[in-house]
């Protein structure tokens, strides 16, 4: 489904070009759950941006669903992001003045035409992340974990093939992190492909495959024999409100 061959990325910001990715090869099948890990500066976010079609590689080939996407037009990239990908960010990035429902509806705005059942689908996505009671709350009126679940619903609503999550638990407490991770694991169990960037080992080990980057190169690419089940971890936590 995803095939990267010798992907490089060099930024030209300062006087000297800064190479970030030095030739990444990656092959992913539909339904995989991959976490990309590495120390900061290893290029994991850049790789995710390229995989998420937010950025173009400087060199190499990227085939998504069999077609080359490393050099297609901006508009085509936008169309593919809208149709095939869903994003979750560390800082949630919800629109502050829109309620949960309106935030989840956002991808439909750019889908060419607004589907007639958009509202219904947005409600379903929100209840999928357990927020059916928060439809009309604004981000400011919800906890961080709830905000991230709204963001997850937004990533889900267009029924994308791949969900890309960039440090989705970075701003969350342990319970909220586990909730978000259990949702991602659940989605993966339903067959959705998931790409996760994290520097947290505990989170990374909840994926079924871990790609480790160091200085722009793949250092290891391993299957996780027994991924940690977030739901089980959640059960071991003391009930909310109790200081443990």
């Amino acid at each position: 489904m995803i095939q990267l061959h010798n992907i490089t990325k060099t930024y030209h910001r300062g006087k000297l070009p800064t190479p970030v990715l030095l030739g990444i090869d990656l092959k992913m099948e539909a339904g995989e759950f991959l976490s990309i890990m590495g120390p900061s500066g290893s290029g994991k976010s850049t790789l995710l941006h390229i995989l998420g079609l937010l950025d173009r590689p400087s060199g190499g080939s990227y085939r998504l669903d069999g077609s080359e996407v490393s050099s297609i037009s901006d508009d085509d990239l936008a169309r593919l992001r809208n149709a095939k990908l869903g994003f979750v960010f560390q800082a949630f990035h919800l629109l502050p003045r829109a309620n949960a429902l309106a935030n989840v509806l956002l991808p439909f705005t750019y889908a060419g035409q607004f589907p007639p059942d958009a509202q219904e689908r947005a409600r379903q996505a929100l209840s999928r992340v357990g927020l059916e009671h928060r439809l009309h709350h604004r981000p400011g009126e919800m906890s961080g974990g709830e905000c991230q679940r709204v963001a997850l619903a937004r990533a889900l609503v267009n029924d994308p093939e791949v969900i890309l999550a960039d440090e989705p638990t970075g701003n969350l407490d342990q319970r909220s992190s586990l909730e978000v991770m259990s949702l991602l694991q659940g989605l993966n169990a339903e067959g959705r492909t998931i790409l996760l960037v994290t520097h947290d080992n505990a989170v990374g080990c909840m994926a079924r495959r871990v790609l480790r980057l160091v200085y722009g190169r793949v250092c290891s690419d391993e299957k996780v024999a027994n991924p940690t089940q977030a739901l089980q971890q959640l059960a071991t936590l003391p009930p909310p409100g109790v200081q443990g």
Binding site: D75, A78, R81, F87, F89, L95, Y110, F114
Partner: protein
């Protein structure tokens, strides 16, 4: 369309959420549009007031005025014209099909009039008995000039109230004798007071029979002009043309020779009277446009800052599939919403202010559709024009950068 509607709704929602901030942002625009509106309201009001004054003088859309002397319509006050219209012309025009009535008059030069030791300088006009009805100007005391006066070239006079006051100072002028120049006249009536027309005192005048003016008070046999009333206002242009041809024929004007007379409609006269205020309107409009331009620059700057502050929102929109042009469109819609809202506020303020001006200062104002259209189209133009730079900036943001 759905996207536009959604973006407009979102733009107005956030405008409302930041209404005090937005008000500051739009204040220049509001003031500019308000003053533009007030200016147009006053211009329109003045025009309507002059026009209704002419209607009150019976000079409506079913009439025009033929005066002697040709050339362009200039400032008529104190200007001498060569008189060219003869009583025979008036007679011929009155027989044209569609002409209801021709009311000729002759102005004698401003003359000294005296009663005993008191004297004043006033306009002396020769008029026919129909003049009073045609001008809708009745007498307050005594009678108006009649057919016998005209036939006998009688030395009788009807006084305007200003002249009556100057000469008789509260005493009853009826039956008294005054001198116009050296010629003695009997006072038979006093006109109703009409007050000022805005540029001259309409009561500062005396009326004598036209025949008397033509024979006793003047050496030429030319009329100053004739009011021509029509049966059907719809045929005015056509009859104007016929009158022109008739007068050119009578005056033996060859082809290429300019008219030696002038036909004026109430609308043209209104334009002439309001031309000074129109120059003022043009100047103030210009100032408003400059202030609108400045307010556009203010809006542009604030929008540019807002684009930087909302870069992550732009990043998110790009991530979920917005194209560059979608972002550009959104920012343009937002600046359009700001400027349209400012335009509507300015228009409301302008209507309020011109209403107050009428109420408190008796400034004539009237709803001006052109002012309305100018206000709204100008504010939208400002929004589009000055939204362009922020829109381009927003569209050119790199999604990865925007999300950082």
């Amino acid at each position: 369309m759905s996207l536009t509607w959604r973006l407009l709704k979102a733009a107005f929602t956030s405008l409302w959420a930041f209404r005090s901030y937005a008000l500051l942002m739009m204040i220049g625009l509001i003031i500019g549009i308000a003053s533009l509106t007030v200016i147009h309201q006053i211009g329109q009001g003045t025009r309507q007031r002059v026009l209704s004054m002419m209607e009150s003088m019976g000079f409506g859309s079913d009439a025009f005025f033929v005066s002697g002397g040709g050339g362009r319509l200039g400032v008529r006050r104190g200007m001498k014209r060569t008189m060219t219209i003869t009583p025979a012309d008036a007679e011929a025009v009155s027989r044209l099909d569609g002409v209801a009535q021709v009311v000729p008059h002759k102005n004698v030069t401003r003359t000294q009039v005296s009663a005993g030791a008191r004297h004043t300088n006033t306009r002396v006009r020769g008029a026919t008995p129909e003049w009073a009805a045609a001008r809708r100007w009745g007498v307050a005391r005594g009678r108006f000039l009649n057919v016998q006066d005209e036939r006998r070239r009688a030395r009788v006079v009807v006084l305007g109230t200003t002249v009556a006051r100057e000469l008789f100072a509260g005493m009853d002028p009826l039956g008294r004798r005054i001198r116009i120049g050296r010629t003695p006249f009997n006072v038979v009536g006093v006109l109703e007071s009409k007050g000022s027309s805005g540029w001259r005192d309409r009561d500062d005048m005396v009326l004598i029979p036209l025949a008397t003016a033509m024979t006793r008070m003047s050496r030429d046999d030319k009329l100053s002009g004739m009011r021509t009333n029509l049966e059907d206002p719809g045929r005015r242009e056509e009859i104007k043309q016929e009158v022109t041809e008739l007068l050119r024929r009578h005056h033996k004007l060859g082809p290429g020779v300019p008219d030696d007379f002038l036909i004026i409609t109430p609308e043209e006269l209104t334009q002439l009277i309001t031309s000074q205020s129109r120059a003022l309107v043009a100047m103030l409009s210009f100032i408003s446009v400059v202030s609108l331009f400045v307010s556009g620059v203010v809006i542009m700057n604030i929008m540019l800052v807002a684009v930087s502050e909302r870069s992550y929102e732009i990043g998110v929109r790009r991530a979920v599939g917005a194209r560059r042009r979608d972002i550009m469109y959104q920012v343009l819609i937002e600046s359009l919403a700001v400027s349209a809202a400012g335009g509507v506020c300015g228009l409301a303020l302008g209507l309020l202010l011109s209403g107050l001006a009428t109420l408190l200062l008796d400034v004539p104002t009237a709803f001006s559709p052109t002012g309305f259209i100018w206000a709204l189209s100008f504010s939208c133009l400002v929004g589009l024009l000055f939204g362009l730079a922020p829109a381009r900036k927003a569209a050119s943001l790199d999604p990865v950068e925007a999300l950082r």
